[in-house]
Amino acid sequence: MTTASLETQTQGLENPHLSFLEEVSEATAGESRLDMCIQCGTCGGSCPSGADMDHTPRQLFAMIRAGMREEVLRSNTPWMCVSCYYCTVRCPQEIQITDVMYTLKNMAIQSKLFKEATAPDFSQTFIGMVENFGRSFELGLASVHYLKHFPLRLPGMMPMIVGLLSRKRIVLAPHRIEGMDQLKTILARAKELEGQS
């Protein structure tokens, strides 16, 4: 098939799935350039956690383009992203891949489509602390998260926990910022603007 005939063929088709690509692009902070993907696979080849993803970023972008909303939002790919930005700086099309991964996490949480709760829970517990104190609180976060998701790792982690405590690298009480009311007002307004209040 010649390129010309392929073009005529696809032009005639109404693509009912295009909207998911647009939806993802719209929701991304900054310009995603997701529609520019040429499926070269540089992203997946550069990804330090790619081996543990059920779809490489390249595959995921093809799936977004194909409108496979549910499969995409159920994928563990965005949750395995370590925010190293290798893909982002290597992408020949300058797609803001890491930011797209953040968008997919947002959308998966909104539609409750993630397969595995460990990563979304971690983010939400972390943010819960920040929304209450204005600062992160590692002891609270680690206690809640590890007891819920990794209780069996705790015995093996005891040397580390004791070591960090004895070296005063874990703070025992959270620090609350003075402008907590101000921060809460700002965040409440931001959630309203995001349509999430």
Binding site: A27, A29, G30, P48, S49, D52, W79, M80, V82, S83, C84, Y85, Y86, T88, V89, T98, D99, Y102, K105, N106, I109, S123, Q124, F126, I127, V130, G134, R135, S136, E138, A142, H145, Y146, G156, M157, M158, P159, M160, V162, G163, L164, S166, R167, K168, R169, I170, V171, I177, G179, Q182, L183, T185, I186, L187, A188, R189, A190, K191, L193, E194
Partner: protein
């Protein structure tokens, strides 16, 4: 003295106390006046961005708004943590490039009586400030105890060189700033191929096997290059490599012992400060043997009851994992 608005970030008071102590010690000889942003809040790390866009950027931007209000004479914010640095630059960058998003973030900020004009502050990482503003000539002039004979693997991790929106470093993947700084201190600097590979960030809390694999890559590479220690510029990298090294060793049945220290601690040593003033002794992987090589006394850390797992002597030739030969008895 050059004045900067300082954003320390949450870990400087907790897991990265050694970074804070050493920075406070060296700021005078470096001529850095660091004025802390009053009542700053957490930047949200890599967590809030994955939950909700406007709240995440509003959280980050409250700090920028406070900084520009405070800005008496300085318009440069310096962050010591790589994740904080990236988040602050990210908010500034996106708000400038996407005016409608900037507008939304400012609407949220205005509910708290704040405003931030994107582009009005310059946001820099401490490493960049020391190498490019203070300058290596000035650093060299303050060295009284060169780190001769200390073999170090410079490790930057991800978030300073990438995405590096305003192109502050020499390269996204192989920048030389940290190498040059450490060489100015007299250390023997390895041309470390994994200097910007990822430590895993928050992944030890999500997928431990993935995390241990990333940590082993870094630590085994540094060990194979016969590094005495790895030198980091980021609290998250230090915590992952140092605190999880034991769990990683158990996972792979290896015996790596690779100390991981902050670059500011080595600057302090070369400037002649006492190791105890520089936060040494807070590591879980003891850098004492490495530093004794260059005649530095390190305070003995309060020992934990952690037992070292012994490798069974079978008498048979068993395959050796890289790192087994690194055992210091």
């Amino acid at each position: 003295m050059t004045k900067y608005l300082f954003y320390p970030g949450c870990s400087m008071d907790a897991s990265a106390r050694a970074y804070n102590d050493s920075l406070m010690a060296i700021r005078d000889p470096l001529g850095l006046e660091l004025e802390e942003i009053q009542d700053w809040n957490c930047c949200g790390a890599t967590e809030y961005l994955g939950i909700s866009v406007t709240p995440a950027y509003a959280l980050i931007s409250r700090n920028l708004a406070l900084a520009s209000k405070q800005a008496n004479g300085s318009h440069t914010v310096v962050a010591s943590c790589s994740a904080c640095y990236l988040n602050l630059t990210k908010a500034d960058h996106h708000m400038a490039k996407q005016p409608d998003m900037g507008e939304r973030v400012n609407q949220a900020l205005s509910a708290g009586g704040l405003h931030y004009t994107p582009g009005s502050l310059q946001i820099r990482h401490l490493l960049d400030v020391i190498v490019n503003d203070v300058g290596l000539d000035h650093v060299k002039s303050k060295v009284v105890k060169p780190l001769q004979g200390l073999r170090v693997a410079p490790y930057l991790g991800c978030m300073i060189p990438r995405p590096d929106y305003s192109g502050r470093l020499s390269d996204h993947e192989y920048p030389n700033e940290l190498d040059r700084l450490l060489r100015a201190l007299g250390a023997e600097v390895i041309d470390f191929p994994l200097k910007t590979a990822c430590c895993g960030g928050h992944i030890p809390q999500i997928s431990p096997a993935t995390a241990f694999d990333l940590l082993r890559r870094l630590i085994s590479a540094a060990a194979q290059y016969n590094a005495d220690m790895m030198v980091t510029v980021c609290p998250m990298c230090q915590l992952n490599l140092d605190a999880y090294q034991g769990e990683m060793n158990r996972f792979f049945n290896t015996k790596y012992h690779m100390p991981v220290v902050f670059f500011t601690q080595l600057v302090g040593l070369a400037f002649g400060f006492d190791a105890a003033k520089l936060g040494f002794g807070k590591e879980l992987v003891n850098p004492r043997p490495a530093l004794e090589k260059i005649g530095v006394e390190v305070p003995q850390p309060e020992e934990t009851k952690a037992r070292q797992k012994k490798v069974k002597k079978t008498g048979l030739p068993m395959p050796v994992m890289p790192g087994d030969e690194e055992v210091s008895e």
